[in-house]
Amino acid sequence: MDPVERLYLDALMADPAVPAHSLRPQLLAGARARRRPAAPTAAWAEPYAGRVAAMDALLAEAADDDWSRVIVEGWTLQELVAHLAAKDGLLAASVGAPVLGPPIDTTDSLARTRDLQAYERSRSPEQTRRDWRAQADALCRHLADLDPATAATLDGLETGLGDHVLGRSLETWIHTADAARTARVRLPDPIAEHIHPTADLCARLLPWTMLFSGMDGGAGHTLHLTLTGDGGGEWRIPLGAEETTPGTPDVSITADVVAFCFLLGGRGDPAAFPAELGGDLALARDVLTAAPALSGP
């Protein structure tokens, strides 16, 4: 910024001018009418509500031809939103929250994705966007009264509802980043308070990504994982899927927290992943190689 402009703004701030009456209440009411805030929900589901609001902010920037542009998996932006709505809908159905679109007749997320994409192709992108958001917000409101430890099933995987919702948060985040890249929009990261539980989920998934990749070298080993940046932290993870208590770490990985979440989400090449490895290096590399194993479309 030009120094004269900076000087001018600093001078204006040194001599505050105040409107006759506070415009704040009017502003907040007006804001709500222009763009819906994140849906109110339980604290543990807020990372998801926040990613839904961020995706919606990105969709608000989309012009007509942006909607037919291919983003990822060969899907257009409209089809991508239908995909998010498909998986959100399966989770909504499993906890008794409202589901929009044609009735659900499958538990498979790809089959549901195909059904919903076929349905949405005959509608306008705005309708697709509106229903995706309405269903997600209804899910958030429904989650407000639920215990995150409640068992829930999505795509044949039964685990705590809290982890499923964080999984939805991560997927919504990653697809928003996909769409932002195509639109050449710089997407800010979620706040640290939302990144941290997402990173925690990713850290806890590591024994399962190893198992799923057929790498059985993890049993009996403990990983010391250090994730740097806002929302990061340190974890001790037993790498055998059957083990619940960590031992003394004999392998370590240090990496950027956002890059790590994206690696688990299938974005980034494990072989080229920027990380500092220590201890059993071959095992550390196996952990990274296996990391994207649970990421679907």
Partner: protein, 183 residues
């Protein structure tokens, strides 16, 4: 110039749909935005409308702002300035058309993405030269010389805290000088 850390976090919160972040940004910057709009339009009601609109537009389209390119304050001030100038120009056009057609219509200047138009920037520079020597010196070192408060203190032979309060006083005087000129 990258935005300060606080700006980034507020922006992250607004993108994530957190309306309390909008309230915080309003509390911090509304008097600046209102003051700036008032200086350009000289109409309190219009300035209030512009202020309201600047914050609403930021809430509605938060991804139009890129913290890599500058502070939130500069971004909102730029929007306010553009809207205020647009308003003044529209008023002028209305007055001109009420007076009847003219042979030579002046080519309207293209609204630029700045906080200050060239003539306004010149007024600010003039106002700086009207300040008492000691205040002017501190201000020029800090803003045009790119010095930190500590460096300003060293060059003027005073503690950092004294340099800081001198610069603050200079800014208030500058605001007064700009205001007087407008009357």
């Amino acid at each position: 110039m990258e935005a300060p850390y606080d700006d980034r976090v507020l922006h992250q919160r607004v993108v994530g749909g957190d309306e309390s972040a909008l309230g915080e940004i309003y509390d911090r910057l509304s008097s600046l935005i209102f003051g700036l709009s008032l200086r350009v339009t000289r109409d309190r009601v219009i300035a209030e409308d512009i202020t309201q609109e600047v914050f609403l537009v930021f809430w509605e389209r938060p991804l139009a702002y890129d913290p890599e390119r500058g502070s939130l304050r500069a971004w909102l001030a730029t929007i306010a300035h553009r809207r205020a100038v647009d308003h003044v120009r529209a008023e002028e056009r209305r007055r001109v058309s009420a007076l009847g057609p003219r042979l030579f219509e002046r080519e309207p200047a293209r609204p630029e993405d700045t906080v200050l138009a060239a003539d306004e920037a010149e007024r600010v520079r003039q106002a700086v030269t009207s300040l008492p020597g000691s205040l002017r010196e501190a201000l020029e070192l800090a803003y045009f010389g790119g010095r930190t408060y500590r460096q300003v203190g060293e060059e003027l032979g005073m503690p950092e805290g004294t340099a800081k309060s001198r610069i603050r006083l200079a800014l208030r005087r500058l605001a007064d000088a700009l205001a007087e000129e407008e009357v």
